[in-house]
């Protein structure tokens, strides 16, 4: 039976590290400081913590509990897990398709972006970008590296593609060694290393003082103040509350389907409440303490208040790949700190990308009874093929399109569905009992109300606001997409629709197979 052959975590700390590794990604260091700086500074932390308590932590507990529950039936992905909640319902499993589709789509472009961090850590060590020291030069360097232009730095995508292949191979290598031998081992090393690198870089930034004696006000303390000084009037703006809720949602990796899969490898008696809270706490440490100390503070010290404002507006990628190298060029030990910065981002990336791969592998293993090698071989081919449009048509809006559907819309939709299924369809009393099996921490009773009413309502408001916002509406209607990019964006939509349809067919086939041969199916 599949359940007997399913893999398992080696230790409690192992799965906590793995879930924290999945949650800690590039967004912790690049997206959070930009969001905070643009939405009230220190005051942003009020809606941020409200969202953490009412949305992030409840979703963590829901996903950990759902995953462990489904794992008990031999299911590691949302279709099977949802089916386990109400086995008489024939359609409930199809809602779970989003929990495989979402991570697969994110994986495709995330792995490519992750490969840039590997490349840049190499460039930092070898001094490849040392010739480019200004933000304009580093912008040209990045554009040429991405194949968007040809200049003195790069004239083809060859270098970027080599680093993509290396990153791709590393991900497959980790997945090949399984949950305990691959993912857990990686996260047990990468997470402490990432925290140490982050603390070292943050300490260096905070000790910069005022490097330019002519501008004593451009110092690290004022840089920290630029991000943290509160503008309480911003709290009247609903957009600030939505931005905080969105940040919490995306930073914790909830609504993807990854935590469901990781938690499915737990035993029925393993704790989920304390483990989920610990993983969330580790993510917040990386985001608020480390992420909130580095980029904006450093940008303020070297470029002043208006420069830091410009940098915050220029977006996360520019912050990571243009502004930070420009800053490291201005401090002693340029190569060391540049290397540590990009290696930290790479470790954050690789612990996230292996987690994004696991749902697809688990689906094939659990629902089709395939061996891990066969499941991984199928994922490798599909994953590699799907990555190609993201690499070669980056400048045509392909990645933005994938990010909207896979990385934004599906996340919020999936989280709303799983919350309603767990607390309303499965029932809050049974859900509460399920969460507390083997629990090392009793959840405060108020969370029964929060999980049943507040969390789903919060999610519906976020989903509605995305769809009704100019940004969401324009994205869906392709308004603002240049005429020459429209075929690529449409092609991406067709590709994503094809993947989604393929997954629906696979779920249908898996359950047909199970009905035809009851003893041979993966899960129960």
């Amino acid at each position: 039976m599949a359940q007997e052959s399913r893999q398992a975590w080696g230790s409690k700390l192992g799965i906590i590290m793995a879930v924290a590794g999945s949650a800690v990604g590039l967004g912790n260091f690049l997206r959070f400081p930009v969001q905070a700086a643009q939405n009230g500074g220190g005051a942003f932390m009020i809606p941020y913590f409200v969202a953490l308590l009412l949305l992030g932590i409840p979703l963590m507990w829901i996903e950990w509990s759902l995953g462990r529950f489904g794992g008990g039936f031999g299911h590691g992905t949302a279709p099977g897990i949802f089916h386990s909640l109400r086995q008489k319902n024939r359609f409930i499993k199809y809602f779970g398709v989003i929990g495989i589709f979402g991570p697969l789509v994110i994986l495709v472009y995330y792995t490519y972006i992750e490969s840039w961090t590997l490349a840049y850590s190499f460039f930092a060590l070898t001094g490849k970008y040392a010739g480019a020291t200004t933000q304009a030069q580093l912008q040209s360097f990045l554009s040429a590296f991405q194949g968007l232009e040809s200049n003195q730095y790069f004239n083809s995508l060859r270098t970027a593609y080599i680093f993509f292949l290396a990153t791709f191979a590393l991900n497959i290598f980790v997945l090949y060694h399984g949950i305990k031998g691959g993912i857990e081992k990686l996260c047990n090393v990468a997470m402490p290393a990432l925290i140490i690198f982050g603390v070292l870089i943050a300490a260096r930034v905070l000790m910069l003082g005022a490097p330019d004696p002519l501008k004593p006000g451009w110092n690290s303390l004022n840089g920290l103040g630029f991000l943290w000084n509160p503008d309480l009037t911003m709290l009247k703006d609903p957009k600030v509350w939505l931005a905080a809720a969105g940040q919490i949602f995306f930073t914790l990796s909830v609504g993807i389907g990854v935590i469901l899969t990781y938690a499915s490898y737990l035993k029925k008696t393993d704790d989920v409440t304390l483990s989920g809270l610990t993983a969330a706490g580790m993510n917040e440490f990386a985001e608020v303490i480390i992420g909130g100390s580095i980029v904006i503070t450093a940008a303020f010290v070297f470029f002043g208040p208006s420069g830091a404002q410009e940098v915050a507006k220029s977006g996360s990628f520019n912050l990571g790949f243009v502004t930070m190298p420009a800053i490291f060029c201005r401090i002693p030990l340029t190569a060391v700190f540049g290397f540590l910065w990009f290696l930290m981002l790479f470790l954050a990336g690789v612990t996230s990308s292996v987690s994004l791969s696991q749902p697809a592998v688990a689906f094939l293993e659990d629902e089709f009874n395939l061996s891990r090698k066969k499941a991984l071989a199928i994922l490798t081919v599909v994953f590699f093929v799907l990555c190609q449009p993201a690499i070669f048509f980056l400048g045509k809006g392909v990645v933005d399109e994938m990010d909207f559907w896979g990385g934004t819309f599906c996340l919020v939709l999936f989280a709303t569905i799983e919350t309603i299924l767990f607390t309303w369809v499965f029932g809050m009393d049974r859900a509460w009992e399920e969460m507390h099996h083997g629990a090392a921490l009793r959840i405060p009773g108020a969370y029964k109300f929060i999980m049943r009413y507040v969390t789903p309502l919060f999610l519906i408001v976020i989903l509605g606001s995305y769809l009704l916002s100019d940004n969401g509406r324009n994205r869906i209607l392709m308004a603002g997409v240049p005429e020459e990019n429209r075929p690529y964006v449409l092609g991406t939509r067709l590709l994503l629709l094809g993947v989604l349809s393929g997954l629906i067919i696979l779920v249908n086939l898996a359950w047909r197979k199970r009905r035809a041969h009851p003893g041979q199916g993966g899960g129960k």
């Binding site: 103040g225 943290w228 440490f285 608020v288 909130g292 507390h436 099996h437």
Partner: protein, 35 residues
Amino acid sequence: MNAGGWVFIILSWGFIILLCAYCLYKIFSKKKGLD
């Protein structure tokens, strides 16, 4: 940095550090679940 900045940084960092310390203490001190 103004006083408000200090207040928010101390409260935010303090909350997160205490949360992490509490969780890690519980993990390493507790051997069995509540059941």
